[in-house]
């Protein structure tokens, strides 16, 4: 069974027809060639698929595309402006906040969403708070302290 939907992805409008079972993650990766968001577990347990849906970080693997008709999505491919990296991307490189890179797009989108959430909360983002708020992004390579440093650097 197929469904029609419209999504605005990284600023570009897409009119799509998809199998109603398709998640946003598979839509991005298999239908639109946007392979930045990664499938690590497909069950919301690792965060590698984190994107921004209407400005909020969310696991794309648990989001049925049909349920997000009309939404605005930001993926890692949409973070850099032309050739200029987002400050967080540059900070990740500087602080070596990744190794194999597979969790990295999810970490970046999650961090961007997280910074906004903390602002709304009025929370102080010290290392412990960043670590707690980023715990939905599993990194088996263990880049955590560098992820925290990169984020801290960006918001300083």
């Amino acid at each position: 069974m197929d469904a029609d939907l419209t999504l605005r992805i990284n600023g570009t409008e897409h009119e799509l027809t998809v199998d109603v079972r398709t998640t946003l993650l598979d839509l991005l990766r298999e239908h639109l060639g946007l392979t930045g968001a990664k499938k690590g577990c497909d069950h919301g347990q690792c965060g590698a698929c984190t994107i921004l849906i209407d400005g909020r970080r969310a696991n794309a693997c648990l989001a049925l595309a049909v349920a997000h008709d009309g939404a605005e999505l930001t993926t890692v491919e949409g973070l850099a402006q032309n050739d200029e990296l987002h400050p967080l991307q540059a900070a990740f490189i500087e602080h070596d906040a990744f190794q194999c890179g597979y969790c990295t797009p999810g970490q970046l989108c999650s961090a961007i969403g997280m910074i906004e959430e903390a602002r709304d909360d009025g929370a102080t983002l010290d290392a412990a708070e960043i670590g707690e708020r980023m715990s939905g992004n599993v990194c088996r390579c263990g880049a955590y302290p560098n992820v925290v440093a990169a984020i801290a650097d960006t918001i300083a």
């Binding site: 079972r21 069950h43 919301g44 965060g47 970080r57 696991n59 648990l62 599993v138």
Partner: protein
């Protein structure tokens, strides 16, 4: 995942009608879509209720809070009145899942999330909850994370929600719209013990739609303590939500709910009875914990939850009343 028909509910009445007709409600999807991928849930018709106008948090004339069922977990935890008047609820929400999941998960969906029992989640294994009569492998199998209270030979699973434990301690009521109109179900009371029919997690009928949760009296002196196997992003091995109303060194009122120990959030009524009106002393706390846990029937491998619950409950009460 099997194919299904998807529609967005036009309004609550249409949703309820669809529900009565066998449709499954979709909230944030963080539990349902997970279960659909596992083959545990196989809805033929999904009715998306997440966009119904149940997304507000409002103060009632009596000064209580009424929370729409479609409110996202993140927003509930962050709401100034929740943080101020029901800190246990905010803490419980923030202790659960991950930031990403909390952004999508709805209050209604959180209440109705299914157990994390490994056997329930695996459709290639028997499970009385998933397939009534097929058996419960957890009773004799691996059950470290399973119940010590209120279980039956048919099911020893626990309810995984942190939020529900906090609501049980606060005292809340769930507004439900069903085929026969509106009604209110208290928490505790929404969730059932397994008994002989573990396939029913709650007292709801098929097609009942949760529209709101109304909180009881403010609980400014309250706390949520969660014990887990890693520092974050893990279900509770054990948790406690405690609310106290101290008055002159004694506890005028106290409400305690335990998580990770039963098929429901477990209201510790025996402990409360010991503490209500009594002085807040370590001896009383110990007496209360022991009274509650005297009823515990641990399984072969989860007896550790008894001293765990005892110690953590005593410490939580001590810190809360300090």
């Amino acid at each position: 995942m099997k194919a299904f028909a998807y529609e967005r509910a036009r309004d609550a009445a249409a949703a309820v009608a669809a529900g009565a007709d066998g449709a499954t409600f979709l909230g944030g999807g963080t539990n349902l879509v997970d279960l659909m991928k596992l083959g545990v849930a196989e809805p033929q018709r999904l009715v998306d209720v997440s966009k119904l106008p149940f997304d507000a948090i409002e103060e009632t004339p009596e000064g209580r809070l009424r929370i729409g069922a479609a409110v996202r977990n993140t927003d509930l935890a962050a709401h100034p009145l929740v943080r101020e008047r029901y800190p246990v609820l905010s803490q419980a929400l923030l202790a659960g899942a991950s930031g990403q999941l909390r952004n999508l998960a709805t209050v209604g969906g959180n209440l109705l999330q299914r157990t994390r029992c490994s056997y329930f989640q695996d459709v290639t294994k028997p499970c009385n909850k998933r397939r009534p009569g097929s058996g419960c492998p957890a009773v004799e199998g691996e059950h470290r994370n399973h119940a010590i209270l209120g279980h039956s030979e048919h099911c020893v699973a626990t309810h995984p929600s942190d939020m529900a434990v906090a609501l049980a301690a606060i005292g809340a009521s769930v507004h439900v719209l069903g085929a026969n109109g509106e009604r209110t179900i208290p928490i505790p009371g929404l969730h059932r013990l397994p008994g002989e029919r573990p396939q029913h997690d709650t007292v709801l009928n098929g097609g009942d739609l949760i529209t709101a949760v109304e909180l009881g009296a403010p609980a400014p002196r309250s706390v949520y303590r969660k014990v887990r196997d890693r520092a974050s992003f893990a279900f509770a091995v054990f948790s406690v939500a405690a609310v106290v109303e101290p008055a002159d060194g004694a506890l005028q009122d106290v409400r305690i709910a335990l998580g990770g120990v039963a098929h429901t959030p477990w209201r510790a009524e025996r402990a409360e009875a010991v503490l209500r009106g009594a002085e807040a002393t370590p001896e009383r706390f110990a007496e209360a914990a022991e009274a509650e846990l005297a009823e515990a029937r641990p399984l072969r491998d989860n007896a550790f939850k008894v001293p765990l619950a005892r110690n953590v409950l005593i410490r939580t009460l001590a810190e809360l009343t300090a």
